[in-house]
Symmetry: D2
Subunit: 332 residues, 4 copies
């Protein structure tokens, strides 16, 4: 039984708390939030002890793992505290937005030999995973092109946007950058990025980019396109297409029902699943299961610190290219 200290009871915290509670090999031991009522509310529902004091939780020898669900800029510090307390760490992406901070954090993890898992949940989606497996099995031969569409139905609230400029790269496309690395087993050597502000000032008062396209060249020669938007009115649009010498693989979108409605005006199906939590429900449960398996020694952690660092490097390069207009070279 792996006992967890969950830090951060808002946003994605409740989802992870529910998944820990439902996993037969895991248990919530502490829920820590500086906003104590948030922690208490989760504890009432899923068990565990609510607290505003992270140190107290980290001092508990029965805690095996810390799950970090706090805002991005707090991640690095909590990772380091958990690592120094000898706990395994499951951390929501990104590790940090500043590369120096990330590097420092990595040194602590190395020094403490901390098992670390960065939660790029999409790797655990059954459809995306089927693409990975098919590519590895040689089904499409050499990968030549990858096309990713990664669109949110809505932009985040203004204060969230203000706290993370260029979030379209740092927060959204960072998932796609990880997907590309994972699916191809290769690293990008160059990136060109372009952005636009398409939303009106009411929705996007900070005029942070809400629309973006990226062109990547991989070390092995494959070409990659990613596009994102913060207003896909038809739902959370998540598609991956991998083209190779022997064929093409597509991971398509999901809809709430399989219903088709035939009328004089055509055939209508549901809009796409709207919330990322619905779309990736299975992947959240599976990433937790894999982390627990890794801690139980069943297999190595499937995704680690360097994966988080490299995805961030690509996001940084995307921002640089979008700002300067020039292609940016990456070291493979």
């Amino acid at each position: 039984m792996i006992e967890f200290c969950l830090v951060g009871g808002g946003f994605i915290g409740p989802l992870h708390a529910a998944n820990i509670a439902a996993h037969p090999g895991a248990r919530l031991r502490w829920i820590v939030d500086t906003n104590l009522p948030a922690a208490e509310s989760l504890a009432a529902k899923y068990g565990g002890r609510a607290s505003a004091d992270l140190d107290a939780a980290l001092a508990d020898p029965d805690v095996h793992a810390v799950m970090i669900c706090t805002p991005p800029r707090t991640h690095a510090a909590i990772i380091e505290r958990a690592a120094r307390a000898g706990k395994a760490v499951f951390c929501e992406k990104p590790i940090d937005l500043d590369m120096d901070r990330v590097t420092a954090c990595g040194k602590v993890l190395d020094a403490t030999r901390t098992p670390f898992f960065v939660a790029f949940n999409r790797r655990f989606d059954p459809s995306h995973r089927a693409l990975f497996d098919a590519i590895r099995a040689g089904e499409i031969g050499r990968t030549e092109m990858v096309v990713l569409s990664s669109r949110d139905p809505e932009i985040s609230p203004p204060d969230y946007v203000a706290a993370m400029p260029y979030g379209i790269f740092y927060d959204t496309m960072i998932h796609d950058f990880d997907m590309v690395r994972w699916l191809t087993g290769d690293e990008p050597v160059e990136i060109v990025a372009r952005t636009a502000c398409m939303l009106d000032a009411a929705s996007n008062p900070h005029r942070d980019p809400d629309t973006a396209m990226v062109l990547l060249r991989m070390a092995g020669g494959a070409l990659v396109h990613v596009n994102s938007s913060f207003r896909a009115v038809y739902g959370y649009d998540q598609r991956i297409e991998v083209f190779g010498e022997k064929g093409m693989l597509i991971s398509r979108n999901r809809q709430p029902t399989t219903v088709e409605r035939y009328g004089a005006d055509g055939v209508r199906q549901d809009p796409l699943l709207y919330f990322f939590i619905d779309r990736y429900a299975e992947s959240y449960a599976r990433e937790l299961a894999e982390f627990i398996d890794a801690l139980s020694g069943k297999r190595p952690p499937p995704i680690g610190f360097d994966d988080g660092r490299r995805a961030l490097l690509i996001a940084e390069a995307a921002v640089a290219s979008a700002k300067s207009g020039a292609p940016v070279t990456l070291r493979a």
Copy 2:
């Protein structure tokens, strides 16, 4: 070059005239219609000589084949006249609605050794044909169940309906009865039919059945379902599903475009093709080509008099079952 006398310039006549004109190995020599202007209009467009006098056309030794596009109740007499004049015959289904009349007609065809083709156009549709080929290739093993949906977007005009009571079996499902025989290579031994009048009195003043379901048992044991309606508001709905020991084959509907429209209310595609002539455009061209090939001695006629007779026998049995309520036995 096969020279045609086309009889009947209305309804399906213009389509066949256009196809003859477009076929490199065929030519329209006569267009006969008791309504001379209809014949003249087609002749002006597609060539050939317009006439109201069928005897004159049949006396022309350069006519190889007669194509019959007149109303159903005139078919048998024209077939016999053409056969006695030594012409090959391409006839729209049905041969006749009265089985005795059909039998008599068959004797004339036999005596005159007339090449005869009954135009069950669906056999020549590429998708339906792919099902036939896959079944023959053993792709699904033994056929166990067949499900056909065969729905028109609108009911025929009242006088057309009045001229052919139970047209839902004699005019519409007769195609499906032929499909079942052709796809399974088997004959039905029993039929149960049920009908309903769902349209209002304005659309269906004669209260002839506009909705029907049929359950057939084949000699080889397979079970078959067919359903029809005269008001599929979303277009001409034509689906065939064949289920077997190793899998299932489906021939789906076709739409005018491949467009998908994603909006907040869902994903919308075109309604189905609305007119049977659009839906089966390819099959009409192909059936003509196969008839011409047969006359040119390239291969035997793919569908003949007995196919027309047997489909009609099943339609007759369907009517009998719908009227009595009892299952009707057919001789295989």
Copy 3:
């Protein structure tokens, strides 16, 4: 908190035990199985007290509800014992296979005013439910035809088949009979059924029907077709199509992933979900939630004794028609 006594730890029992454990408003208090180790295994995983003695469990005043997951022929007796003990009952379908037994059972339920829920899980599937909602909202106007495909990937083991002859109606199509009643809000007045044995003797040694088609006529005039098979090699095939004066609604199948694989030989997608428990995972969770809501007084039980009885009456009539060959009349 609703406390459950689950009876029957095999087959569907573990699924219901897991769902009770996962529901925030429910708890497993007893797990009863005459095969004690089966009960113990479930209790170890999901909590509750394992026992082979149903009376002990029924004597526990803290048990609110009994969930019956035992073989069909034991249902009626357990229902009556639970009812007399003052417990609410959630029972897997069918109530019994003998109509007199069902009637007797109903009298006990009436006399004891027992809240009763028969688990026609498909009513709680989101796609089927969307059809129900659209029909009720008038989206397709009057319902004119219903077509259901309800096919299992495999036949049950021989002893299961031997214990319930004509299981294709009593065990499988009984779901579809309920679907038809529920979707149309109408009752059938006539049924014709035909069956076949398509599997070989090794798979189906008792030569019980493994393939069936049914034609129903509803009191309101709608025509209904149902087909079933026990060897859909491509997976659990569950489709419902409702055709009406203003359009058509289809609830399609589900697949494990959304992947499309394009190669020189075509475009390939996953086979259908293979196990009914995967296909209807959501509906099992939802039916439990609705039962709990009903017990908590939030709303009336959505499906009751008479629904179970009427579906069985239709199944009985199907068997009678399949045996005699004649249509069987049902009282609406």
Copy 4:
């Protein structure tokens, strides 16, 4: 009746000859090819006089229009000769690969006031056209992103490739550049292009790019991605996706049949239509019809010299960017 002189009997020539022959308002008067037997073969099939002498044909006062189907580098000279002879011109794209040559050609067309039509056939595809119409109707509001996949199943023969280096832009993506201009009603202001050689030396001995991705920025701010490959083994892959503030429109691929094959290994459909002539059969017929309508004064020519010139400018910029690595600015 519009009388045509068709120049160039190879490659796309026979298709246009067949379409002219089938059009009720057009007739083939001359077929000119320096390889006389090619011209004779077409004339035998579709009518008209075969010749190797273009001057003779241009001197015929009954010729209204010249249709140019010769290799690209001969287009400009033939256009000018036809224009000076007072004939309308229908020319396969591109006008020429050298911009100065194009400009000179344009001056001749202007001076002679020649009706000119450049055959970007995709504008006449019903599905692409439905996108155009929906965008113009405001269905998706402002266009924010466009994604085009434009992949050939095979690379052209080596001598064809040698005759037109960077054909992936000049010959293939030039269609997409036209699509983008037409669909958005806007002009690109910047382009970044990347290419790769993925085919082996046997298929692509000249090592000309066989794989490419492009990122365009439009004057109005929209971002555009285009990808191409010369080995889509699953067929001719032609997709357009337009994303806007109110939704998304997709024009999907077409397949020879609508058949679905369900087996234990999944659900299989046909590969995509393999030949561009099959895929765009309707668009070739429609572009001819629109050209004829324009000559008949029914409406203005839907696509003209400047469309050909601007698409070529974008292709040139793509080549420049692919060679230098830098983004290339275009004047809107």
